[in-house]
Each structure stands twice: as C-alpha cells, then as structure tokens.
C-alpha cells in the first residue's frame, strides 16, 4: 500500500463521485423502467423532474473527472518518487497489472459521460424527450464503469509495493525494452507515414462529410498517435534519441507539454466518437462536433511536427 496526501484527496473525490452515482441510480432505474411520456400521471411528471437530477449529477461528475485526470497523472508522477526504480509515471503505471487498465477506464468514462451530456442537451431540445431510453441505457453502462473503476482503483493502489523495484520508462519503451514495441512489425517510419496519411484522411472525410470514415479514422489516429508520440516525437521533446516515454512529457522540465498533447488527442477522438453516436441516435446534425475533433487533431499534429522542425532549425540535424 502506498500513501500520500494527493492520493488521499484523489480517492476521496473519486468516492464522492461514486456515491453520487449510487445516489442517483434509483432515480435512473425508475426512469428506465417506468418512463411513459404520454401518461399524464404524477409519476411521469416526477420522473421528468428526476431526469434533471441525474443529468445534474452527470454534469458534475464529468467536470470533476475532467479536472481530476491531469491531477491523477500528476499523482502518478509524484508517486514515482516513492517507488524504487521509477523515474516517472511509466514505472508507477506498470507497478501492477491494474495501472494500464485504470488509465484506459478513465478515458472511456470521460468519453461515455461526455456523450451522455451531448445526448441530454439534444433530448431537451425535442418536445417529447425521445432519447430518454438510449440515454438511460448509456447511463447504466456508465454506472457500472464507475463502480468498476472504483474497484480497480482500490486494487491498483493497494497492490503497489514500495519495496519491489519497478521498471523505468527507458526499460519499458526504450531501445532494449522487452515490453511494448511497435505493432504489426512496422518500423517507425511506416508509423509516421501512416500517422500523417491518417490525418489527411481525417481532413478529407470531414470536408466530404463521410462521418463513419472520419470516426474510424479517428480511432486509428488515436492508436497511431500513441506510437508516433512515444517512439518518435517524444525524443524531440526530450532532445535525446534514447529517451522514449509517453509520461515524462507531463513533467515540469518539458513545460507540461504532455497535457496539451494528450489533451488535444483525447479530445479529438472524443468529439469524433460522440459525434458519431449522437448522429446515429438523434436527428440532429453533429458537424460541429466533427469540426471540434478536427481542430484538436490538427493542434496535436502541428505541435508534434513543430518540435521536430524547431529541433532541426536549431541543430541542423535530425535525431
């Protein structure tokens, strides 16, 4: 078990959000089972009012989770001080088998709750609240994700040993790493080529309004970006050809650039996926969501490329 002030605060807020969800679950369950918009019964009016409470809680939960994610990353970075061998969050995340899962869960929860809130806003624009059912099925998924996340958080933090030596990022991602490597036997130039090509595809599919293609391309873009950033662009941030790590980017030495890079990337994927889901369920146009997605994806690719260009201009060579 590992212990720190930040951890106490973090877990406290997580539990608070979890309790709010449990609190709202009864309302959500009633809405899911008893909803009948055309009924003039008192129950129906009560349910319509309760819908506001559930959406208020979700709004609060999403905002807290969005603020909490960078705090969580910072917490992982600060815990690396206590773990032998760890230099940054990479070692802390890989301290046991739950770390990676927890990070993915956090992003998924933000995606789902964000989508829920967009759906909710669209629902309120309709005169007969037609998307209540899909919204509350999505709520159910979210509810179980939140409970599952709390469980994983408990397992993750209670299973970090302060004695066992963990791996540092150079062992996890560096030249002689035996863990993660590039997928499908691709080399880094193939990944880069695909990365830029996918962005072109994103751009074209946005212009042509091929929304499905855009969403699928966005998922590809997310995956490719992870590899391109970790194995190529991060070395230009660190200005060291052997330093390959997705987490050190969040540290002060690199001007916290990780928050911008990862934030824009995750935001870009979120808007594309939410745009797709919302356009499938509702009758509303979601072009503005795809536009946000493209803007964020473009910020990401520009920032990455800029690091390489600036390095070249300063030093006259590539790494």
């Amino acid at each position: 078990m590992i212990f720190s002030k930040s951890l106490v605060a973090f877990l406290f807020v997580e539990v608070t959000i979890g309790l709010l969800f449990i609190f709202s679950f009864y309302f959500a369950y009633m809405i899911l089972t008893r909803w009948n918009f055309n009924s003039p019964s008192k129950l129906q009016y009560t349910l319509e009012k309760r819908d506001y409470f559930v959406s208020l809680i979700l709004y609060f939960a999403l905002s807290s989770k969005v603020v909490l994610l960078p705090f969580f990353i910072n917490l992982l970075n600060s815990l690396s001080e206590k773990l032998p061998g760890a230099m940054c969050a990479a070692g802390v995340v890989s301290a046991n088998e739950y770390g990676q899962l927890l990070l993915i869960l956090k992003v998924v929860i933000i995606f789902v709750s964000g989508t829920w809130l967009i759906l909710n806003a669209k629902d309120k624009l309709e005169v007969n609240l037609p998307y209540v059912k899909p919204r509350y099925y999505l709520y159910l998924i979210l509810f179980f994700l939140i409970i599952f996340e709390l469980l994983i958080e408990y397992l993750y933090f209670t299973n970090i040993s302060t004695e066992e030596v963990v791996l540092c990022c150079s062992a996890l991602y560096g030249a002689n790493s035996n863990g993660l490597t590039l997928p499908f036997g691709l080399d880094i130039f193939a990944v880069l080529y695909l990365f830029y090509a996918t962005w072109v595809l994103l751009f074209l599919s946005y212009i042509k309004k091929y929304l499905l293609i855009n969403t699928v391309a966005n998922i590809f873009y997310l995956v490719l970006s992870f590899y391109a950033l970790t194995y190529f662009f991060s070395t230009y941030v660190y200005e060291l050809p052997t330093h390959k790590c997705p987490y050190c980017l969040f540290q002060k030495e690199y001007h916290y650039i990780g928050y911008l890079l990862w934030g824009s990337l995750i935001g870009g994927s979120f808007y594309a996926i939410a745009g797709f889901v919302v356009s499938k369920i509702t009758r509303f146009k979601t072009d503005y969501l795809y536009r946000n997605s493209l803007v964020l994806d473009t910020i990401f690719i520009l920032a990455c490329t800029l690091y390489v260009v600036v390095y070249y201009l300063k030093n006259g060579v590539f790494l």
């Binding site: 212990f3 106490v8 807020v13 009012k49 409470f53």
Partner: protein, 389 residues
C-alpha cells in the same frame, strides 16, 4: 445580468442567512491551509538544510541506537576513488538537569574550511581567533533565553562525568533565521564537545563524506559496506526521501482527520440547504412563472454555491497566509514540531506549494458542491404555482 451576477446579488442581499455557512467554510479552509503552509514551509526549509549536508553519512548503531563511531576508518575511506573529503561530526543532547531540558551540543572543527563555511553564515563578524582563545560557544536565542532564566548570563557550567564542571563562555547568539533546525543548539569547538558529551578522542557521532560526482555515490556506498559492514550508511537521497515521507505521512493523517470533520460540516449544511422555507419556495415560483426553467434555477443555485465556496476558499487561504508567515510562534508550528523542549523562537519562511492547494481545493470545494447538488435540484422542482397562491 447573468446567473452569476444574480446569484451574487441574492447572496449579498440575504447576507444574514448565508454568513454562517461562509464563516464555517472559511474557518475550515483557514485551519487546513495553515497546516499546509506550515508543513510545506518546514519541508522547504528542511530541503534547503539538507542541500548543505554531506553526500554520505556513516553511523555506527547498536540495537538501532546511535553509538560513537571509531574515527580510525577515516583514512581508509579517504582512499576510495571519487571521495573528495571525509570528516567526523560530533553532536548529542546534553541534559540540563535543573531546567529539565535538553540542549543540543554541536562540535565543529573550526580549522576545517568546509565546517567553518557552515558556521560563517550563522554569525556575522565572527572572529575565529578570539573565539578559539578561550572556552567559548555560540548559542541559539532560545538557549540563551533558557540559560538566562537560570542566571547564566555570561557562561554555562557543563557537568561532565568524573571531572570538574566545565565552564564555557557564551560568545554570542547566532542568527535568528536558521533557528528552525538549531533552535535548541549550542556550537563549540570539537574537542570540547567530545569532552562534554563523553566521547573518547578517537570517537565521533558520525562520519561525513563529500562526493563531487553524484553518479559515483552508489559505487562508493558499495565500497563503504566492505570497509565497515556493520555501519549504517545514509545518502543524501535517503534523507530527502525519509523527510518527504514523514511529512507526507503526517500530512495524510491530517487530511484524513480534516476530511472527516469537514464531512460533518457538510451534513449540517446539507440538511439546512435542503429544507426550503415558504419564502424560498415563493421566490422560485415567481422565477418559474416569469420564464425560468428547472435548469435555470439549478444554474442560479449552483452559481451561489460556487461563489460561496470560492470566496471562502480565497479568504481562508489569505487569512492563514497572514497568520502563519507574519505572526511569530503560531500554534501550528508547535503542533508540527512536537514537544516543547526549549522555548521556540521561530518565524517561518513564506513558501507557497501549489500542489497542496490543489489538494485542498479537491477535498473542500468538490464535496461542498456535491452536497449542494441535491438541494439545488430539490428547490428547482418546487411547485411553480406557489407564486399564484
């Protein structure tokens, strides 16, 4: 006007109703923030102090207690490649029987450059020659005060085993700023300190090693283990880690206690906020009749909560900053530094640790806002025909 303006107006114009929550919230923030300021300032000073410490320390322990270490290994350690300098350090508590207090006696080799450097910043216009001519010592202002209480104005008699009492003159009082870690200390020539603390001539409290190349430290530690397998070896990194852990641990305990009591406040607040009286219901009825939706009422109520919590947060932090750093001997220092050995004469160095305030933000504002969600919603769905009745 927007929701925030409207909310601030409803808060200010009903000040008597809202002032209680505001005062309690501010008080909570004040206590927590004072604790944070004290802890992080102490931590920061400690870090700065550790910076001046040697890179490796070798101690001899028996049954986990510090025992005098034989100084004959100093030459052997000096021969390890990468070691720049090795020297002995003398310190220990002298029990001042009459006062029932402990005085920390530090022995310094004033002829050694390294050690003299550390002393120089303690005392302005320090004249080494006149200091060493007689049995002299430098004392902290707290020790000075303590000795004066027992009429030792110019000198002090140390009782030494099997010998006559040793009379040492008080040469001067050292600078107040560094009192934090030398609050209960006196500084004197090394041989005299050994005499008073009962050390043999070839014994020391610990051996300090200076290593210019930090990457060499691990290697040197390995070699030290060969030379003195039974010794305890502490590197500067160990010291940092230990001090951080200690403060983090204390801080964690405090936070847990704080959260518990804050929850109590929230429960009271919650029950007060969720009972809406007739006037409140009417107010909401009017707003609903003139076109506010359920969501608009929620926005207004949440804006009120945001204003109350942010204003309380800022005023609590500000008040505690003033109290902790501008007032001497605040109670939080005593809580942190533990038992009253000698009178404390401490002014904390101002230090602002952003991370701690982010933590404070998370454990106060988020739960406060969370506790207002249900009351806000409950009032928003109050019967809108209330205005017409």
């Amino acid at each position: 006007m927007n929701f925030f303006k409207f909310a601030s107006l409803t808060l200010v114009r009903n000040l008597s109703k809202n002032i209680i929550v505001f005062i309690f919230f501010t008080l909570f923030i004040f206590i927590a923030s004072s604790f944070i300021f004290t802890a992080s300032s102490l931590q920061n000073s400690l870090d700065a102090e550790l910076e001046t410490q040697p890179d490796i320390i070798v101690q001899y322990k028996k049954a986990s207690r510090n025992h005098p270490i034989d100084t004959s290994i100093i030459d052997e350690i000096s021969d390890i490649p990468g070691v720049e300098k090795v020297y002995e350090r003398i310190f220990g508590y002298y029990f001042f029987d009459t006062a029932n207090k402990y005085i920390n006696v530090l022995g310094i080799d004033f002829l050694d450059d390294e050690q003299e450097k550390q002393i120089k910043h303690l005392y302005k216009n320090f004249d080494l020659k006149s200091f060493l001519q007689e049995d002299n010592m430098l004392v902290s202002s707290s020790v000075k005060k303590l000795l004066e209480q027992y009429y030792y104005e110019k000198f002090f008699n140390f009782i030494v085993e099997d010998e006559e009492p040793k009379k040492v003159n008080i040469y001067g009082v050292f600078d107040k700023k560094i009192n934090l870690f030398l609050n209960d200390s006196v500084i004197m020539e090394m041989a005299m300190a050994k005499d008073i603390l009962g050390y043999e001539e070839n014994e020391a409290s610990e051996i300090a090693i200076i290593v210019p190349n930090k990457l060499e430290i691990d290697n040197i530690v390995q070699k030290l283990l060969v030379i003195t397998p039974t010794s305890k070896i502490i590197t500067k990194n160990n010291m940092y880690k230990y001090s951080h852990e200690l403060y983090d641990y204390k801080g964690g305990i405090f936070l847990s206690l704080f959260i518990t009591s804050f929850l109590g406040f929230l429960v009271i607040f919650y029950s007060q906020a969720s009972s809406i009286n007739g006037a409140g219901k009417k107010q909401i009825g009017i707003l609903r009749a003139i076109g506010w939706s359920i969501n608009d009422i929620i926005k207004w109520k949440m804006s009120e909560a945001v204003i109350v919590s942010f204003v309380s947060f800022l005023s609590g932090v500000l008040l505690s900053y003033v109290y902790i750093f501008l007032f001497k001997n605040n109670i939080f220092v005593s809580i942190f530094l533990g038992s009253e050995n000698v009178y404390k004469d401490i002014i904390l160095e101002p230090f602002f640790d952003i991370n701690s305030f982010v933590i404070l933000f998370f454990i106060t504002i988020i739960p406060y806002l969370a506790s207002t969600l249900h009351p806000a919603w409950k009032s928003s769905i109050a019967d809108p025909t209330e205005a017409i009745k």
